[in-house]
Amino acid sequence: MLKLLIVEDDVALGAGLQAALTDAGFEVQWVINGLTAWDVLQKSSFHAMVLDITLPGLDGVTLLKRLRTDASTLPVLMLTARDTTRDKVQCFEAGADDFLVKTTDVEELIARLRALIRRSGQTGHVQVGDLTLDVDTQSVLLAGQLLNVSGSEFKVLRVLMESAGQVVPRSRLEQALFGLKRGGESNVLEVHIHHLRQKIGESRLKTVRGVGYTIVLAPQ
């Protein structure tokens, strides 16, 4: 079970998040004070942390900096009422992995947390419905059946599955395929997508024309 630490001083929001995330299948520990959070982090390990900025004891940004100085790679999602670019930059500079404004709905929070944990590679495999992608063995399983995917197709599918439910822009997929240099106006990506569709099923992989592609969380 994935372990989460929530650091939030608003009791109503903290309790709500704890209930919602527990319901979503996480094992949740919730603390109110920044210093308590630091102590808890010393004693036990987590898969991810949801962190507020304004906290009693020790504020979120300082806690995060201390954590990164300590060489911790724990995925951290900042959840805060502040939403200016400056706040975001400050958080990312301190070492945050993701940033959400407090009014974001719980479903997106859950999706982002899952993506964070997937990307952190702590699980070694990515699961979307009955589709499983094993990062260590570079293999893809559909309902337990091993699929025959090429290296490039695996790269594309991995990015898509790590952000399942979100639309991944073409540019990000091309970056995963070709590195930072742009592939130009080639249709290499389309070819890989076409092949992937044939292997995992049309309904799982949707196109948003001109934008990108998405792996659907619950295909019809």
């Binding site: 939403d83 670019t85 404004v101 009014t103 709905d105 439910g165 979100q166 639309v167 991944v168 822009p169 073409r170 540019s171 106006e185 949707k206 948003v208 024309r209 001109g210 934008v211 990108g212 998405t214 659907v216």
Partner: protein, 473 residues
């Protein structure tokens, strides 16, 4: 002011001291020259026969000598060379001054034969040689009085002339002249400074009044300052202040309106939340409870959306000039906005399509604001277009502009309502979908900040709505 007065007084004292010292030196030189001329004139006046042997002494009254000397100015014309660059002696003015002071009457004259005979002397002069030295010399007599002598030997007359002048008398004269020159200034300067101070004070009075007027103000008194009574020099300041006051008043009005709007607009979703919550707690039927829960969630989402939109608008509202503009690739912005919003369109079975013209020019703008503008437009399209509808986002070159076009095949906005939808909290009449009524107001503000505007038109296939924004390059 005090410092200025002290500095000017000090400056004046230094200048006066230096000038006086200089004047005293020159006056002394002048009197010396005069002494020498008097001696020569005296010799010519007596004009003794060099061969004659005289045993009696001619005694002349000083007044007589003076009269003879001054009465015949020609005899005072320069004799021999003088080391002065000018020849002040002999001028009519000096003459008059000298006479008035009875200068000559204080002098002692002696005319000696080299053999030791005293040929002539002024009455009151001693009958002994007043000085042994030739040329200028000083001595103190038995009474302690200091004398200035001039003595010379004349070979033609075989005579020696000695003229002596009491130093005290010369000092008195010099002091008199120096004091005469400095006293008017010494008396005039303080008066001048006083007048200067008064006039500056008087000149600055309107500024002081203005300062007092501003200091008296309450923080919310934003009436304009009077321009008419302001001195010309201060007018630019007052005008600039008035400009600031006007902007402040505008901002304050905006704030007041925002707070007012916010409170009113938030009441509705909060009231809805209250009602749904009551329903959830009291309804027994699980299906009805489920529906109420759903509506509760919608109301909360609406309140959240409203707060976010109001915050966005409030941040855009103040009269900030050009926000941070950078080179922006509209293609990149459109891609990330559409990627963020596409899941919502997919959920409603809508087709969201983005087409960015290849090689589209980048434009100058604020990326965060442009992103917010497009998010609002696409979000509106997704929101108001029914399930299964179509939404198209286009970015293309349009002459010297980049044109952004968001079109849908939803219900659209009736032509007569199109000009009003940009007002805050305006809701289209035939609209049942909940909205904040702020989205387009935000878009318009962002467009204004980018020196452009939103144009509403017909959407896809002759129905729905299209919003076009042209950014000049």
């Amino acid at each position: 002011m005090l410092l200025l007065a002290l500095v000017s007084v000090a400056y004046w004292v230094v200048i006066a001291t230096l000038t006086s010292r200089d004047n005293i030196d020159r006056l002394n030189e002048l009197y010396d020259v005069h002494l020498a001329r008097t001696a020569k004139a005296f010799l010519q006046l007596i004009d003794p026969d060099p061969e004659a042997v005289q045993t009696t002494t001619l005694v002349l009254k000083p007044t007589e000598i003076d009269l003879l000397l001054n009465g015949t100015p020609a005899s005072l014309e320069p004799v021999g060379t003088t080391h002065l660059p000018y020849t002040p002696v002999g001028s009519q003015d000096n003459h008059a001054a000298t006479r008035r002071l009875q200068y000559g009457t204080h002098l002692h004259y002696q005319l000696w034969r080299e053999s030791g005979n005293l040929l002539a002397m002024s009455a009151g002069a001693p009958s002994t040689l007043m000085t042994q030295q030739l040329g200028y010399s000083d001595s103190i007599d038995a009474q302690g009085q200091t004398w200035r002598h001039y003595s010379f030997h004349d070979a033609a007359h075989q005579a020696r002339v000695v003229v002596s002048e009491p130093s005290a008398f010369r000092q008195a004269l010099v002091r008199h002249i120096v004091v005469d020159a400095t006293l008017p200034l010494a008396l005039g300067l303080p008066i001048l400074l006083g007048l200067l101070w008064l006039s500056i004070r008087r000149g600055l009075r309107p500024l002081a009044d203005l300062g007092a007027e501003i200091a008296r103000r309450q923080s919310d008194t934003l009436t304009l300052l009077p321009v008419e009574q302001t001195p010309t020099e201060a007018k630019p300041i007052v005008l600039a202040l008035n400009g600031l006051l006007q902007r402040l008043a505008h901002t304050l009005e905006q704030e007041r309106r925002f707070t007012d709007d916010a409170a009113h607009q938030l009441r509705t979703p909060l009231a809805a939340i209250q009602a749904q919550l009551y329903a959830v707690r009291h309804l027994q039927d699980p299906q009805q409870r489920g529906e109420a829960t759903h509506r509760l969630q919608d109301s909360v989402a609406r309140a959240i959306r409203l707060v976010n939109q109001m915050l966005a608008l409030a941040r855009l509202d103040p009269e900030q000039p050009a926000p941070n503009f950078t080179e922006v690739s509209f293609g990149d912005i459109a891609e990330s906005v559409c990627a963020d919003l596409a899941p919502a369109a997919l959920q409603r079975d809508q087709t969201l399509e983005l087409s960015v013209q290849p090689g589209l020019s980048s434009l100058r703008g604020n990326p965060d604001m442009l992103s917010m503008l497009l998010t609002n437009l696409v979000d509106n399209a997704i929101h108001y277009t029914p399930r299964g509808g179509q939404i198209r986002v286009q970015a293309e070159q349009d002459g010297a502009a980049v044109a952004l076009l968001v079109s849908d095949n939803g219900p659209g906005i009736a032509a007569h309502e199109r000009s009003r939808v940009f007002e805050r909290f305006y809701r289209v009449a035939a609209q049942s979908e909940p909205g904040t009524g702020l989205g387009l107001a935000i878009c318009r503000r962002i467009a204004e900040l980018h020196h452009t505007q939103l144009e509403l038109g017909d959407g896809l296939h002759g129905q729905g709505l299209s919003v076009c924004v042209r950014f000049a390059l």
